[in-house]
């Protein structure tokens, strides 16, 4: 059951990297949040799903119901802006970068954690975090940042599910999506 939910969350992360519109991404995000919360086995699963899978997606839908999330370098362009604008990064190299990340990041996480014997849920969780941050790095749109951070938060919930005796402070940090809410507030203030 846990392995299936973790695999589902990982596949939905790849799906989030593919979609170009917010109204398509939000149901995927809600579904991913449900998959992640199902693995938690802790009372914190309820706020994790309620906040990350319902409240914040609804707030995003209320803000911009049908936004196009065009793929143009986000944080990557912040680090390497002159290089990013150069012909070296022109299509198809730039277009293939998100796909390269979508394949390489989960494979690296699975190889790393399979060797350390930490279990599928931890490997899937680390992959989901990496893909969420990859989404933040690949798209400049402010709501894409919120989407990516929410997906990464779902990955943290998956990793936390591997710990049977989660301390209350850790459960709070993992279950309450503080950082996506902060990014959403920033997007709303500067819209």
């Amino acid at each position: 059951m846990i392995a299936v939910a973790a695999a589902g969350a990982l596949l939905l992360s790849v799906g989030l990297l593919c979609v170009r519109r917010l109204d398509v991404a939000l149901p995927l995000l809600a579904l991913q949040s449900a998959c992640a919360a199902a693995t938690l086995g802790h009372v914190a699963a309820i706020p994790a799903f309620a906040l990350g899978g319902v409240v914040l997606p609804l707030a995003m839908a209320w803000m911009r119901p049908a936004t196009a999330l065009a793929a143009r370098g986000g944080a990557v362009s912040l680090w390497l802006s002159p290089l990013w604008a150069s012909p070296l990064w022109a299509s198809p190299l730039r277009a293939s970068l998100p796909w390269a990340g979508a394949v390489a990041l989960p494979l690296a996480a699975i190889a790393l954690f399979a060797r350390s014997g930490s279990g599928e849920a931890v490997a899937a969780g680390v992959s989901v975090v990496a893909l969420g941050l990859w989404l933040v790095a690949m798209r400049r749109h402010a709501l894409a940042t919120v989407l990516g951070l929410l997906a990464a938060q779902n990955g943290l919930v998956l990793v936390a599910g591997a710990y049977p005796d989660l301390p209350p402070t850790a459960a709070f940090a993992v279950a309450v999506p503080l950082l996506p809410a902060l990014a959403l507030a920033d997007a709303w203030l500067h819209r």
């Binding site: 912040l78 950082l179 500067h190």
Partner: protein, 402 residues
């Protein structure tokens, strides 16, 4: 990380608990008051009073909590107190220049106090997850303060801060969760993640913009107070020394290159801080933890002094510029003990950083009452660096070994 109430003569008593709770709660209570106070003049005096009270309370912390936490909380409250004395001057100038309006001043004031409260919570919380939550508050407050300025560049700087520090905090939480399952990877995640909050490579791109676009006192809090807390977490976490040495050198060299390229003074202070925080992380990696703690203290005092004098005081600038060379003197021995080859990039980076800063030195020396806090901080830094008494040295050793 162990509970911070486990050490000190007052440890475990209600006095210690009340003291810690007071130092953490006072800034949040002040923020709540400031949210309903309409007058900006009243606001700056409330902040100055609260900061003074917090400093007095923090002076008693060495009897209640371990030295490292007490030291950082005391340093934070000292910088906050001296910075608060500039509130009337800087806020009046920002209002006159149209950089802030009355509503934005209120948001800025609430953000200032929330940032200080979050930093003290992260330092004194005594739990890695509480520290993480404190840093989330710090980042939110820093974004609110930076974004309060009425310019598109400030809004862009705030968004960049949220994006990069948000990504950093996700990595840091993942690293904290993985500490017992994959220690090396967890150490790497903690360095990259909390390094973003300190403005270290590779998620450092927010730092210079936040320092340059914000109002002066806010820039001090963001570049000094926010940057210090992750260093305590590096000290308390079990991170591979090789990783710390690599990250420290990368930050030092990147900061040195940025200083040689040059831009305005506030950006140079931010980049100088990047290079010097790199030296602190490098020192932690070589095992010279007392030297790292001393460098962090000097850096905090001198960055605050330079920014409080708006980069126009030659004495503060010179002292700030000479820190990399002083660090080289302190770290040469421990570096050779690890590997003599490391001395090459260390010396090159430290010399380039010092030369870059010295080339931009201001011409005049600030005088008058307005310069007094900066002079106090320069004098304190000089006393610590050059004439460190035995008791202070013992304090630094205890701070890192406690």
């Amino acid at each position: 990380m162990t509970g911070v109430l486990a050490d000190g003569p007052l440890a475990g008593t209600w006095v210690a608990e009340a003291l810690v709770a007071g130092v953490i709660a006072l800034p949040f209570a002040t923020a709540a008051v400031l949210a309903v106070v309409g007058s900006w003049r009243a606001g700056v005096w409330i902040i100055a009073g609260s900061a003074g009270l917090q400093f007095v309370a923090a002076c008693a912390l060495p009897w209640a909590v371990p030295p490292a936490e007490a030291h950082l909380a005391l340093l934070t409250s000292l910088v906050v107190m001296t910075t608060s004395w500039f509130g009337p001057r800087d806020i009046a100038a920002a209002l006159e220049g149209g950089v802030l309006n009355r509503w934005r001043v209120r948001r800025y004031h609430v953000g200032c106090q929330a940032l200080v409260g979050g930093a003290q919570l992260a330092v004194l919380g005594g739990d890695p997850f509480v520290a993480w939550i404190g840093l989330v508050v710090v980042v939110a407050a820093a974004a609110a303060m930076t974004g309060a300025v009425l310019t598109p560049a400030a809004a862009a700087a705030a968004s960049r801060l949220v994006r990069l520090c948000g990504a950093g905090l996700v990595l840091a939480l993942l690293g904290t969760l993985l500490l017992d399952r994959a220690p090396f990877l967890a150490g790497l995640l903690l360095l990259v993640g909390y390094g973003a909050i300190a403005g270290l490579l590779p998620l450092h791109a927010w730092l210079a913009d936040a320092a340059a676009e914000g109002v002066a006192p806010g820039a001090i809090l963001v570049t000094v107070v926010q940057a210090n807390v992750p260093l305590l977490l590096f000290l308390r976490s079990d991170i591979a020394p090789g990783l710390q040495i690599g990250f420290g050198l990368a930050a030092l060299l990147a900061g040195a290159v940025a200083l040689v390229v040059r831009s305005d003074r506030r950006r140079m202070v931010a980049m100088g801080g990047l290079a010097q925080l790199g030296l602190v992380v490098f020192a932690l990696g070589t095992g010279a933890t007392a030297a790292a703690w001393l460098l962090l203290t000097l850096l905090s005092l001198l960055r605050a002094a330079v920014l409080q004098s708006d980069g126009d005081d030659l004495a503060a600038w010179l002292a700030f510029a000479l820190v990399p060379l002083y660090a080289l003197y302190l770290l040469a021995g421990p570096t050779v003990a690890v590997s003599a080859w490391l001395l090459l990039p260390l010396a090159g980076g430290a010399a380039a950083a010092a030369c870059g800063l010295l080339a931009m030195r201001p011409a005049g020396i600030a005088v008058g009452w307005a310069a007094a806090p900066a002079w106090l901080e320069v004098a304190l830094a000089a006393a610590l660096a050059l004439a460190m008494p035995d008791t202070v040295l013992a304090w630094f050793r205890a701070a890192v070994e406690g």
